[in-house]
Structures are given as C-alpha cells and as structure tokens.
Symmetry: C2
Subunit: 462 residues, 2 copies
C-alpha cells in the first residue's frame, strides 16, 4: 500500500474540483505556474531555496492508483468520466528551478512549471508544501551556520518538528545549509546525512550512580563518547568526568570525546566546566551545548567567548519559530500562450514566464538581481535552470553533497550587511522594462475583457 504522501490526493480538494471544471470544458492548454515568496519575513535578509529534489520525485512518480480512484468514485463529488480521465494521468511537463542552496528573495520565482493546465494545476498544493518547508528551514539554518563561525552544528529538532516528514526534511534542509549532521536517525538511510547522538538524562537517571552511567556509555561507545553532565549537579559531574577520563585512558586507552550541557546559563556553565576539565588535564574534551538554541543564542554565546565547541540546534530551527511560515504562492502566469495575472488586494501577481538574472561584483558577491521575462537578454546569471523536460528529470541531478557545496559558495557570496542576524537593507530584484510593459498590456486586455463580460451578461440577463 502506497503512503499517502505519494498520492495525488495529498492536495487541496479545489485542485480536483478545478480539474473537473477544466475537464468539463475541455481546457488543457499549456499553463505556466511560478512558485515564489511574496515578501521575506522581517527576521530574514535572505532565503535559501530547498526542496526541489522532493518536488521532482513527486512529479516523476505522480499517478492515481486504485485506492485513489476508489475514493474519488465513492466521494460522490466527481463525474465518472472525469475520474476515468485521471486513470492514465501523469506529469508530462517541464520544470525550471533555482538549484537547491541558491539564495533567493521576494518575488523571485524559485520554480516554474510549464505543463498541460490540469497537470500544472493538480500539483500546486504539494509543490508549495515541499518547497515552502525546506526553504523555510534552510533559510533559518543558514543563519546558525553564519553565527557558528565554523563550530559544529547538529540538528536536534526531530521531537518538536511538525510530524515525521518535517523531521527528516529539516535534517536535509539544515544539512544543505551547512549543518554537520542531524540526530534524526532516519535521515541517514534516507539521505546519507551524518547522524549524531549519545544519551538523554534518562540514561543517567536509570543508573544509581552518575559515574556508573558515564562508564557504561564510555565502554559501549569508546570511539564517540559524549557524556551528558547536567542531570543533577553539572560541576560535580564534570569532576566525575575528569576522574573517569583519566582512569579509562590510562587503563583502557578509551578517550572521552566531549561533554554535553543542556540547561542553565550555557555560557557561564561552559566556562566553569572548561576550567574543571582543563585543571584536571582534560583539555582535549570538547564542550557541546544544547537546549532551546537558535542562531541568536549561538551568536551571543560565541560573542561572549563561551568555550563551546559545538551546538545542538533543534526546535526553534525546525519550526522556524521566529518566522514559522513564508508568504508564498504558486501562481498562474500564462495560459494558452497568453500571460495571466490576478489583482487581488495585496496579492497581485506579475504575468508572464519569468527568469531571475543575478550580477556579481569582482569579489564574487551578489550585487543585483533583475526579474525579467524568460527570453530577455539581460546581464547576469540566469538562476532558474532546466530540471525536467516532458515529465522526465534531466540527468544528472546534483547529489546532496554537491547541493551543500553550492549552498556554501552562495553564502560566501552574500554581502556582509546581509550576514547580520538583524535586518539589513532589503535586497530586492528590479523588474525589467519589458516585464513592466507586459503587466500594463495584460491590464489593458483584462479591462477590455471585463467590459465585454459585463456587456455580454447584461444583454443575456436583460
């Protein structure tokens, strides 16, 4: 039995009712939709595109199976002839997109789908669901990567991620952004992301003696012993670690790699623990911190000189807690060869098939984006690249390692003010003249159509 996340029924119902509407009129000309973020959250100077690989997998495998059609028949909502038309449904369209790891900004299409109307429409909800979440998390994670200045970062967020898929995709998105790995085991078999983890407080509590718990663990994992030391009295535990470390190194050549602190004033506690470890001759034992961390805390701890070598960043990253969603959409920009737009208050869209052109200065820093029609000759690197043609993915798709490398070089090209955790002057694309002109032309056409519509129906109604 297929998992529901692979089903075309993982879509807003209106995708299916619209499809029946299009079917009833025989409408299935080529449509172009673009996914973009309307406005960056106030807490973000940039976004990092992510989630494309999952979109491509979804589109390449999209089929209605017997369970799906059985539900459609049983729902009583749809005409049988329409449901029959779905039985050989597949995605046959083209996709162009920014490679994952690319930095992006308001109004810039991150992905463009060009396909027969019904195909391009049906996939709306899930495409947004996939691109929105990984872009959200990669964008947040990249801020921790900048703040950590090369110190180790591990995703600790599974437990408070919003469900299973959020957990594994946050592991992926944060790894793309530059995290060293994740605590979420399933991300290893799924994506080959390095996994990290040692013990919870319950492990200490289940033993009568803290030292006994430490010793059990050091013997079970002599290669990767990180001991959690804040269950009862952190400084007493640090002293226990020193004594244990000396003994097992002397007698058994086991080295304790690190201690973890998960509560209290992490900077102050880390300093006291560092002194105890150093005084005990354990300056090789690293200090790893966790507990409600995010980029702001990581920045502040490092800024205050806390002797912390690595950070577990969890809940606040995986829920993007300071900006838990992006104002984004997947909007029709062309149908049957004609550019389209809507004028909804505060949500008007730009018509036509677009491209983003990015210029870089002599040091490789990004220095200006132009939002233009896809076929305009504009200076700069076109950011949307071909990904699928005729429903097939173009090979090779980049490995996760290659995506991560791309993300790293993107962050390296970020102008200094935008690396700040505070708000920088917005970096927004400039619209080309041709794009603006097209907007005006479409408006003229819409006005004329509205007038005909009015006249036509008033006559009919009269």
């Amino acid at each position: 039995m297929r998992h529901y996340s692979d089903s075309p029924l993982l879509a807003d119902l209106y995708e299916l009712t619209m499809l029946q509407g299009y079917f009833s009129r025989g409408m299935n000309d080529r449509a172009v939709f673009e996914f973009f973020v309307r406005k960056l959250p106030a807490q973000r100077n940039f976004l990092m595109a992510a989630g494309l690989a999952q979109v491509v997998d979804y589109l390449a495998g999209l089929r209605f199976d017997q369970e799906d059609t059985a539900w459609l028949y049983g729902s009583g909502l749809f005409d049988f002839s329409f449901i029959e038309s779905l039985e050989d449904f597949q995605f046959t369209g083209d996709v162009d997109a920014m490679p994952e790891g690319t930095l992006c900004f308001a109004d810039e299409p991150i992905l463009r789908v060009s396909a027969p109307l019904r195909e391009a429409q049906l996939v709306e909800s899930r495409i947004i669901n996939l691109l929105h979440f990984q872009t959200l998390v990669a964008s947040k994670a990249a801020r921790s990567v900048i703040a950590a200045g090369g110190r180790q970062l591990v995703d600790f967020g599974m437990r408070r991620s919003h469900g299973a898929e959020a957990a594994v995709l946050a592991a992926r998105a944060s790894y793309i952004a530059g995290f060293d790995g994740t605590a979420t085991t399933a991300a290893a078999p799924l994506f080959e992301i390095p996994v990290f983890g040692t013990m919870a407080h319950s492990f200490i509590e289940a033993h009568d003696y803290e030292t006994e718990a430490f010793s059990t663990f050091a013997h079970a994992f002599p290669e990767r012993t990180t001991l959690l030391i804040d269950t009862y009295d952190t400084e007493a535990a640090a002293r226990r670690v020193v004594q244990l470390a000396r003994r097992i190194q002397r007698d058994e050549n086991i080295r304790i790699k690190a201690v973890r602190i998960d509560s209290g004033d992490l900077g102050a506690v880390a300093r006291r623990v560092r002194r105890i470890l150093d005084a005990g001759g354990c300056s090789g034992i690293r200090i790893f911190a966790s507990g409600n961390l995010d980029e702001y805390m990581v920045h502040s701890l490092i800024d205050n000189g806390a002797p912390i070598d690595g950070f577990g960043v969890g809940t606040r990253m995986n829920t993007s807690s300071d900006a838990p969603y992006l104002d984004c959409g997947y909007k029709l920009v062309e149908y049957a060869g004609r550019p389209r737009r809507k004028h909804s208050s505060g949500k008007a869209t730009l018509p036509g098939c677009k491209q983003v052109f990015r210029r870089h200065d002599e040091n490789g820093a990004m220095c200006g984006d132009t939002l233009a029609l896809a076929d305009e000759p504009i200076e700069g690197e076109p950011l949307l690249k071909p990904v699928m043609r005729g429903g097939r993915r173009l090979e090779p798709q980049p490995s996760l390692h290659a995506i991560r490398t791309h993300a790293k070089s993107q962050l390296a090209g970020l102008p200094a003010p935008m690396r700040s955790l505070g708000a920088a002057a917005p970096y927004a694309p400039v619209c080309s003249k041709a794009l603006r002109d097209l907007g005006n032309q479409v408006d003229q056409r819409l006005r004329a159509l509205a007038e005909t519509d009015r006249a036509h129906w008033e006559i009919e109604a009269g």
Copy 2:
C-alpha cells in the same frame, strides 16, 4: 517497502545508543516515562490533548525490519549482538493517557508509558513528535472554534504545513477541536474527515471571462458552488454572481451556495458584497472568507459584525504561528521500582508514577486539578485512562466522532475567563502532599548516592 515514518529509525540516534548501553549492562527493568508540557505558551490559556491514536498505532506496530537492521549493521556504530537483540523487538508495555480532546495544563502528564526500559526509551522521540504536534494544533484550533461562535470553519493549511504528515494531522487535530472539515483531500480517505474546496484564482484567470469561469464551475458542481470573487474587482464579480445566479436558478434550477473572498479588508469587503447580493435578491448566497486568518482575525471580524458565514483558517493554525512549539518532554519518573528525577536547571522533573485528578463545579465547569501519585485516593476524575496493556490496545478505541464530541464537552466545561483569546489567570494543578514528599525522599536518596559515588570513585582514582 515500509514508509520511514513507521520505522523505529525515526528516532533520535541517542535512543539507539542508549539502548546499546542498557543492553551492554543487561538493564531492562520496568521503566515509567511521562509526556507532559512544562509550561504553556503565553498565548494559551489551555491545551487540548491530541495525537494519541497515532501513538498507539506506532507502538502496536513497532518492529525493526530488514532495511532497518541492514542500516544498523552498515552504520558501524553498534555491536552485532545488540542489533540481533532488536530483531524480535516489540512494544510489550502499558500506556495510560488522557483521551484525545481532553483539556490539559502545565506539568500534567498527558501520557504515561510503563514498559521494559529499552522499549520505553526507544519510543521517546516519535511519541513526542506525534503528541506535540497534534496537541499544538488542536489547542490553537480550539481557540478559533470558540471565536467563530458556531460559524463554519475549514482547515485551509496544507500548503504551508510543515510537510505531508503535518498537513493531514493538522486536519485531524483541528477536526477534533471542532472544525467542520478540511481542504486537504487525503484527510478524507485517511480519517473520514469532511473535505471542502472549490477553486483558486488560477481557475478564474485561465478563463477569458470571469462570468464564464463562474458558469463553468456552477455547471460542473451544481450542488456545491462556491465562487471565488476577488481575482480582479470583487464588487464587479459580486454583481456577475447575482446575474449568473438569477439566470441559472431560473433556467436550470442551479443554486449558487456561496462566494469566497480571499484578500483585502475582509470585513469591509464582505459588507459591500453582502449588500450587492442582497440587493440582487441573492440573500441565500453565503459569504466565506479566507486569507491569513487565525482566531484573532475571526474574533475581530465577528466582533465588528462582518457578514461572514464561514472561515478558511490555514497557515497560522497549522504552523501554530504565534506559538509554533510547546515546551514538552517525555521523562523517566521510575525505574526498577524506584522513583527518578532530574535536577537540570529550569527543567527539573517530578518523580513517580502520576495521575491528574480534576474537579468540576455544579455546572460542570472544571474548577481545580490535583497532580498526585497514581494510586492516591484524591477527589476528582482521574484523567489518565488505560489505553494499552502488555503491548495491546484496549478495545474499543474511540472513533474520531467520539473524540470530537468529547472535545466539545471539554470546551463547554472551560471556565469563562479561559475562553478569552487574551491571557487569563493560569489554571495549574496543585501537587498532592504525597507527591511533594516523594520528591524530597528522592532528593535525599540522590544526595546519598552522589556522596557514595564521589567516595567510591575518589578511592578508585586514588
């Protein structure tokens, strides 16, 4: 191939490393863990427990399959004898929990697992992941239910939910809390939740004439036509709806059910649209509103007398955007017959196997909770009920309909000040004397053990 969300590898790696630690020492006595929320977000006067059904499904089906063990062998992290011990792993423990839909508060255990240590430990991450998210969303959704005062509420949040599981579980959690249904189609076959949905702006834009789009849709779905009217000029569209509605009702006996507004000042727009519809003899056409809604907006619209009959509430509910996570944990409270606790700064836990007893006043309103030891004779209704025994679920488990009814009666028993969207005086459980005494006893024992630990290791190290 099994989906990763059913795999025991969907867990923090430390669950597995701890298991190997326990295995290496032969530790597998009975352990009791409790899931609870440490502190309510400032924006919540109450929480509504949800997610138990998914926890029970997870526990009842938990097995390591060949792919899981293949990964464990290949990881190089674990001893082969330990991995072999997992091959016949299953959950054989007991679960007691608050029924879904029950209102709950800080420090109150929502779920208690009593099982051999390794089983009770392994399931930590996923139990938190499942209970946290649905409790988060049900708690937020219940606020919209109170604010809407009986008006229709539909979950519109799939696209910006954090992944696929978040989408379908948010549909479930909001339905439990009292929503009328969801736009997320997959929630219908999965949970038999009513689904709603009609059209997006793209449907209008793909047609040349707005009236033509409306007419296409009304003919495709004569029983459930809701027309989206804010694509271009909302008032002009409302006038088109009037003309179309009169014509198709006269000629074809098709009735337009509602119009939807998705942008602008929803209250002002709804008033203007209502006037146009009423003046055109269409007072039977309802107005449905959507677009960045949450309980605050719903409350304010209704408070200002906006003529809106139903609301699509999406992103902000499904991401619980004003409080995107709960400070919650799944903590060891007893092992091998002895109560356990940790003292971590700001995260200390209460030891022992607990129960929550709730008193109600003569009108059925809740008027006080006592947090006590599970076997204490305390006044009030014990909220944690038996759910699984010996790894098997107790039958019958409540239907989603029964859960929803329970949630409704819970909300009816909420004291008036706590129904406000603003902060009310906190409702927190009182600890029984026996529970406080146990805490002191455990502390005494921990101090004695710490002293022995110190003496023992100083001698060894000396």
